[in-house]
Symmetry: C2
Subunit: 165 residues, 2 copies
């Protein structure tokens, strides 16, 4: 699938366990130019359109200092995706491969992750470029891009652990 919720030739659905192992809280909402899955970018681009990320109370205070980072990792909930496919055929050509070898929105836990360029911090959210999700997508987390972030916490033994010796 991807465009609609159809199952295509070669795709395999399973009967998944109930999704009750942990619960998410939607901490905001993402506004993009795309209102239909058939026009969404398949992957965000750094020169793409500006999108707005709204952060809901009581999480707004958590935005403090996010302006230190040029790029932000954005986690969001792909609320329209089915969750039961283990093999998918993105090209709808009869060939299929495993879900974990794809970045398709269809996954057991439909969490999208993007790296967005920070354009502006607003009172209750961010303007960014580089997203590829539908307008109205629920937000679940914001973090500094891992390649820009240096841990602030004191060093711990695992920091220096290498190999399997």
């Amino acid at each position: 699938m991807v465009r609609r919720n159809e199952i295509r030739a070669g795709e395999v659905a399973v009967d998944p366990p109930a999704a009750t192992d942990a619960g998410l809280v939607f901490i905001g909402r993402i506004y993009t130019p795309w209102t239909d899955r058939r026009v969404c970018p398949r992957q965000g681009r750094a020169d793409g359109p500006t999108c707005r990320i709204e952060v809901f109370p009581p999480w707004i205070a958590a935005l403090d200092s996010i302006d230190h980072y040029e790029r932000i990792e954005v986690l969001y909930w792909m609320h329209l995706s089915r969750r039961d496919l283990v093999r998918q055929s993105p090209a709808n050509d009869g060939t299929a491969r495993g879900t974990f070898s794809l970045r398709s929105p269809v996954r057991p836990n439909p969490i999208g992750s993007s790296i967005a360029s920070l354009v502006k911090v607003e009172a209750d959210g961010l303007l960014v470029r580089g997203l590829d999700c539908l307008d109205g997508t629920p937000l679940i987390d914001l973090k500094p891009d891992r390649t820009l972030f240096t841990p602030i916490a004191p060093r711990q033994p695992g920091d220096d652990q290498v190999g399997d010796g």
Copy 2:
């Protein structure tokens, strides 16, 4: 916090809404050398110890073709983390900053994301390097590293959309 669940000088907790907006299914478990938060690496390293990612049925078929990628994005559930801090003091020095400007495990939705180097695909999981999570951490998703993945689906209009014109 981070090491224990204490609140430190400068940290701010909120009364969060119930985490009932969406439900997760744990799709596997991660085995690492670290059994205590006080020894965990603060960030994974590509030359770190080999860790095992077990994938549970019925998701094992979704591993097909994951061996095409040298690096895998791993999403996991940091099950021991509190979720209510909007300001944190990683150095415990009286200064604090917003949760979204940190990669601390303490977040409204405690989802960790790492880029791991693929060592081996096994019948029911993976061996990887580069993780930083506790032994026994629940797995929630595996995807190809975004920088290695080229979408297979047909082009869509949003793929070519740039700027705000």
